[in-house]
Subunit: 366 residues, 2 copies
């Protein structure tokens, strides 16, 4: 029976590379988790997600609890079987989406009451229910329910929110009924205030989690502020547990966060950008809608081995983006996820070789 | 150097099975051609189209001439390279789409002038231009420009239209500058009038083509009338040349047409239905949007080996259709195309074994 845990193979400055063992297999770290909101990484078959190099995907509790429903997914054999992804799955707690997507939210000590953005029905989410849902889904890494304050917020508001999140973290941890190889992660909050971040990190460790996430970032504070928060927070987290920076981010954000000791990331950027005709390449970000690609026989990214780059020209990609063809979303999503996984593989290799702290520190730098 | 032509391996009543040789490889007949309107079979990668068993796809001259433009496709190396489909391609002449999609059409002896449905620009299409475009695309099987009268139409109107189509057919054939292995097909018109169909078939043979299509059907005349037209037309066509029934159709239409001697088909039904949550199965047509599938752990079609049927439950397909996820279009298109190719493979086998005329005559019948 697999026990959940991080095995560090090498460190380089604050950065580390290794493997996280889970009930559904290993995750090579630093890891990028494609977002599979509603039981699908949009525009990708699960085998294609795997082909990009992903070891783990993220599922959204908020979306899945509303449709098709956690009890139904459980009855159908769990999320892995439902979406045919037999590797690790991390689920968020639903808190962030309730704040950003749902209508008529009311937060109390008990939890949050809201209306579904799909059918307007009233739903209640508590720390206990968030964990029960993630258990029903069969998630390998389950996140505590926290409150996600809007940015910017005053120190006082952040402190109040943080206190609630820490009480919810304790209730979430108590409600977590993990099977062998499953994990429960706490989430450090505290806005851009270093002392609140440290307080949060310490409070979570008192409770005790299998891993620690840093939440409430990439909400508009900017990269410099984000890196400052990481520098204030990461040293307060245990070295032997996975660290997950939620909702981040751009390639340069990920590189900087890995250098500051983060092991796991998720972000909709590669998938959402792909559906919008945007591509991440070793030569920078490209908008395929741009007319300058219309007659370009060259590949999207000569350094990439994905189907979009191997089989098609920029001219073709431009054409299918302009024509609104589904294959545009399929190919650019596949490419962007490959780019992100190539980035992570490059970072892992640089850390293993002790090169990440020594030079410009980007796997794709010239 | 491949010479274009049909090689018949077996016959069974009026039905035949064999192979058509083309510049880009062989087509097993009877053949179903998935529609790849704008340089993509919607929601499919080309390798996935091939995995369904397709030997040939259809491209639409009308769409490709408007975007990205035939000259541009030629400059980019031709349609095969552009869309990464290295097997045979048949292109229509654009005539049918001009009639159904374009605005402000004006038909003269010279050709048809219309406004693009994409940007409103004025475009002129003549028999000569239709063939030039198909040559620029590099199409293996090029169709003559014909006039497609609306249904219903009087015998007199059909006769007038037919006369124009036959003059255009002569001009198209003269303008066809085929390379080795490429073909030019004439199109039999004549509405539901047997003597006009026969007149058209004879007029085309006087001109001489590499293959003969039956056009102007599946426009609302019904299956019985369509089969009557085939029974009146096919015997007037040369036995040693491919016969192509344009825009058909439902599985039962295809079975009946194969029994009446047709070798090739195209239709948007499997792809369009797939994008609309409809699936063709050995148990009949299913609407995956229907709530009765919500908890069904069974496969879409137990007799099918496509990814939708191998990897997922009906409950999952229902969920992604309801959620409007791109994977729904991907999986159901893949399934429907597989169903159509399995149907064609079954028909080929039944003809080879002399069983198609002998029994109920459907590969999927119990």
């Amino acid at each position: 029976m697999t026990e959940f845990g991080l095995e560090i193979a090498a460190t380089d400055g604050a950065a580390r590379t290794g493997v996280i063992h889970t009930a559904h297999g290993d995750i090579r770290t630093p890891a990028f988790m494609p977002v599979g909101t509603a039981g699908t990484v949009k525009a990708m078959l699960p085998q294609s997600v795997r082909e990009t190099g992903a070891d783990i995907v993220l599922g959204n509790t908020y979306h899945l609890m509303l449709r098709p429903g956690a009890e139904r997914v459980a009855q159908l054999g769990g999320l892995h079987k439902f979406m045919d992804w037999q590797r690790p799955i991390l689920t968020d707690s639903g808190g962030f989406q309730v704040m950003s997507l749902a209508k008529l939210r009311k937060i109390t000590e008990e939890g949050v009451r809201f209306r579904s953005h799909i059918d307007g029905s009233e739903v209640f989410l508590s720390p206990e229910r968030a964990m029960a849902i993630q258990g029903l889904l069969g998630s390998d890494i389950q996140m505590v329910l926290d409150e996600c304050p809007a940015f910017p917020a005053s120190e006082r508001d952040i402190e109040t929110s943080l206190a609630l999140s820490m009480r919810w973290a304790r209730r979430s941890r108590a409600a977590f009924a993990g099977k062998p190889g499953q994990a429960c992660f706490g989430i450090v909050q505290g806005g851009v205030y270093p002392h609140l971040r440290r307080r949060s990190a310490e409070a979570l460790q008192e409770i005790g989690f299998h891993g620690y996430a840093v939440g409430g970032l990439a909400v508009g504070e900017g990269q410099a502020a984000m890196f400052e928060v990481l520098e204030a927070t990461v040293p307060s987290l245990p070295a032997d547990k996975p660290r997950y920076l939620m909702g981040v981010g751009k390639p340069e954000d990920i590189i900087g966060a890995v250098k500051r000791g983060i092991d796991m990331f998720d972000c909709v950027l590669p998938t959402r950008s792909g559906r919008n005709g945007q591509a991440f390449t070793r030569q920078g970000t490209l908008n395929l809608r741009n007319a300058r690609h219309a007659e370009d026989l060259g590949p999207l990214d000569p350094g990439c081995a994905c189907p979009a780059c191997r089989q098609f020209s920029r001219a073709y990609l431009h054409h299918v983006v302009k024509a609104g063809e589904i294959i545009a979303a399929m190919l650019l999503t596949w490419h962007n996820l490959t780019f992100y996984q190539d980035l992570m593989a490059g970072l892992r290799e640089m850390i293993a070789q002790g090169r990440l702290s020594a030079d410009s520190g980007s796997p794709f730098a010239p």
